[in-house]
């Protein structure tokens, strides 16, 4: 007959308790960030047809760009594309300091990334899906947004900028 209980050395028990507590603290920190501090990650927004999203006149991405919703509040429809020339449309948007911008980004071809440098905006752009994120620009400057997912030969030159004046 063998034992049914695990023999645990007292040092090891203490170590396991410390590990457990540590991980609970980390998990709590993440929970607070997720639910308390309003850290945003993309959620299901809208499915689109990547074959027509850039051309269908009813699609906002057939005419990508900035739309002013109300004073200082904007929607930015951005098309990330590898074909023909690895670029974001529009390549630049210019907004006043303090603007709150909601980005709606999609791709008519392959997967891309969208990371606005020096901000918390960093997400995937998938054909067939819309990535949405809202961010307030409270300091003036030029914020490059860059492609962070491999999208073909021109991946390394694919970028654009938010100019905050």
């Amino acid at each position: 007959m063998s034992a049914q209980k695990i023999h645990v050395d007292s040092y090891e028990r203490n170590w396991m308790i410390i590990s457990f507590v540590l991980l609970v603290v980390f998990a709590l920190a993440v929970s607070v960030a997720a639910f308390g501090l309003g850290i945003q990650v993309p959620a299901p927004e809208q499915r689109v047809d990547p074959r027509t999203v850039a051309t269908d006149p009813n699609s906002p991405w057939s005419n990508p760009g900035l739309r002013e919703v109300s004073a200082g509040v904007y929607d930015a429809y951005i098309l990330a594309r590898a074909v023909p020339n690895w670029e974001y449309l529009p390549k630049e948007i210019t907004i006043p300091v303090g603007s709150k911008v909601t980005f709606y980004v999609t791709s008519p071809d392959v997967q891309h990334g969208f990371k606005i440098q020096d901000t918390n905006a960093n997400f995937m752009v998938l054909p067939g899906q819309v990535s949405k994120l809202t961010i307030t620009f409270s300091k003036a400057g030029t914020y490059n947004f860059i492609c962070t997912e491999f999208c073909g030969s021109g991946h390394g030159v694919m970028y654009g900028a938010v100019i905050v004046k």
Partner: protein
């Protein structure tokens, strides 16, 4: 000392795995430094143009050969060794093992042809709608299915052993290897479904489009446990071999070692959404739940850290080691196998911290797809795993071939050079990531690189150069070993650290498979089922393929 004699046929089979693994490492590692040099502004791709078209083709070769081929072949060989040596029994069905091995070899060749022809420059994640030549997908399928077949052979061997030894505890190295093989069988279902239901028919022109989000979800179902498939064989060596090699240590806790392997089986698959934190189309609540379980799977790694360090310390103190940390000096650092694995373990400490960082839902927003990620996994798969496998090969290859390790001093130097090179490379990649540098970009050409990145980019190149030297030393040592005229006097002793407790004291429930397997499947169904159901219900095969490289 009388150790179990592994039959010649098994030795040959295991040796063939290690040979393919090292060949893959050799070619794949040639391209690693080329990426690093590019970052530092030394572009060698210009000179390779007739053969290799781009940085990305090189990156594909590097990722596929090093992360997928080197690891999978080494692991299947090492697990087979552990099952046979641990159970003291030949394989139940040698033919099955050979069929599996040759399927994997044919698969590698089938995938390599389009990669070398620049028809599959899709990197090792092959995210659609980047569309590779169909042979690439066929090749990957064969590698996965071949590894399944080999896994079935291991399970059959275990079942036969169990019939012959009804009441014994499964010896630890065999037990842990079987769990690793089982984890692989479960988790590769994701990528198998991805390829067979979407990518392969699509590349053959049978369907017009794919669903990129669903493809990513299938991929990461496999993609994270893949990390544990790489890591667990290194853990087996750290738990059950390294303490013996480092100074006659014993395994501190057999029961908790087994418990940690079960925890890896149960927890490492249902956490894949932590790779998709910033994907659209997946509700944040699932991302959050997966992040919580990701912290959970860190727990058995913490247990491993304790047991391994305690086992090493036990041996070192027996040999006169003293002090809180000074005992580390008493470990057998002159043995290249020991030095490699200890250095691998030290860097893994930092790799683990980086992993927790990535797993943190919020911090990931700063790091996702930046250079921080390759910085991280060069500490884990490219050091904790690779340098440990290198260390294992320093005794396993002489054991299998009967030839003496050539110049053990150079083998030890190799491990230290890797350690130094990786600290420089990985540190600079982590910092670049924090500064915002994206991964998978030839940064020397990128138009948005600010001045402040330059010194770090140079360090990436420097680290790459040092790693290249280390890799070269390793290949020379291996080549000189397998062609060495000096043979070992008697068979190399397989290092096995006995358990401090009587293995019979290990509770029987740690040797029962069914509850853990059902538990693992149940947790996967709970954590993946609803979202996969949702995604499959709404599947839209609307993305045509692109060849944009």
């Amino acid at each position: 000392m009388n150790q179990y004699q592994v039959p010649t046929a098994e030795k040959k089979l295991i040796g063939s795995h290690i040979l393919v693994a090292i060949l893959a490492l050799a070619l794949g590692s040639f391209f690693g430094p080329l990426q690093a040099f590019e970052h530092a502004g030394w572009d060698f791709y210009v000179y390779l143009k007739p053969l290799f078209k781009s940085y990305y083709q090189g990156l594909t070769v590097h990722g596929v050969l090093n992360a997928l081929v080197w690891t999978t072949f080494f692991i299947m060989g090492f697990l087979t060794f552990n099952v046979v040596f641990g159970l003291k029994r030949p394989l139940k069905n040698m033919l099955l093992a050979k069929v599996g091995f040759w399927m994997m070899v044919v698969g590698v060749v089938a995938a390599a042809i389009p990669i070398l022809a620049n028809e599959a420059t899709v990197l090792f994640t092959f995210y659609p709608p980047l569309k590779a030549n169909w042979a690439f997908y066929v090749g990957l399928t064969l590698v996965v299915v071949g590894s399944w077949v080999e896994g079935w052979g291991m399970f059959m061997t275990y079942t036969a052993w169990r019939k012959e030894n009804k009441d014994e505890r499964t010896p630890f190295i065999a037990f842990a290897s079987l769990v690793t093989a089982l984890l692989w069988q479960i988790c590769t279902l994701g990528v198998a479904v991805e390829i067979l239901t979407m990518l392969l028919p699509w590349s053959l022109g049978l369907i017009d489009g794919v669903d990129p989000l669903l493809a990513r979800t299938y991929f990461w179902f496999t993609g994270h446990p893949l990390v544990y498939f790489w890591l667990l064989p290194a853990y087996i060596s750290w738990y059950a071999m390294l303490p013996k090699q480092a100074g006659g240590g014993k395994m501190f806790s057999d029961s908790l070692a087994r418990l940690s392997f079960w925890m890896f089986l149960v927890l490492s698959t249902p956490i894949g959404f932590h790779h998709q934190y910033v994907d659209p189309g997946i509700p944040p609540i699932w991302k959050f739940l997966h992040s919580m379980l990701t912290f959970g799977v860190f727990f058995p790694s913490m247990m491993t850290a304790f047991t391994v360090v305690a086992s090493l310390e036990y041996g070192a103190r027996k040999n006169g080691g003293k002090g809180a940390l000074a005992w580390i000096g008493k470990l057998n650092w002159n043995d290249p196998s020991v030095a490699s694995q200890l250095l691998a373990g030290i860097l893994f400490f930092f790799g683990g911290i980086g992993g927790l960082t990535n797993a943190s839902y919020n911090v990931n927003l700063v790091l996702h797809n930046t250079a921080f990620i390759p910085g991280h996994f060069h500490l884990t798969v490219a050091t904790a795993v690779t340098l440990s496998f290198i260390g294992i090969s320093y005794w396993l290859v002489p054991y299998l071939t009967g030839r003496k390790l050539w110049q053990p001093k150079w083998a030890t130097i190799q491990a230290w050079v890797w350690f130094v090179g990786m600290i420089i490379f990985s540190n600079s990649m982590h910092v670049l990531g924090l500064l915002g540098a994206p991964r998978r970009v030839p940064l020397n050409l990128a138009p948005y690189v600010p001045e402040e990145w330059n010194s770090r980019l140079f360090q990436v190149g420097l680290g790459g150069a040092i790693l290249f030297i280390s890799g070269t030393i390793y290949l020379v040592v291996m080549y000189m070993t397998v062609t060495n005229k000096q043979r070992v006097e008697k068979e190399v002793e397989v290092p096995i650290a006995e358990s401090m407790q009587d293995p019979a004291a290990t509770p029987a429930w740690l040797d029962r498979w069914a509850p853990w397997v059902y538990g693992s499947i149940a947790l996967i169904v709970v954590m993946y089922g609803p979202m996969l159901f949702e995604l499959i219900k709404n599947i839209s095969l609307t993305s045509p393929g692109f060849r944009v490289w």
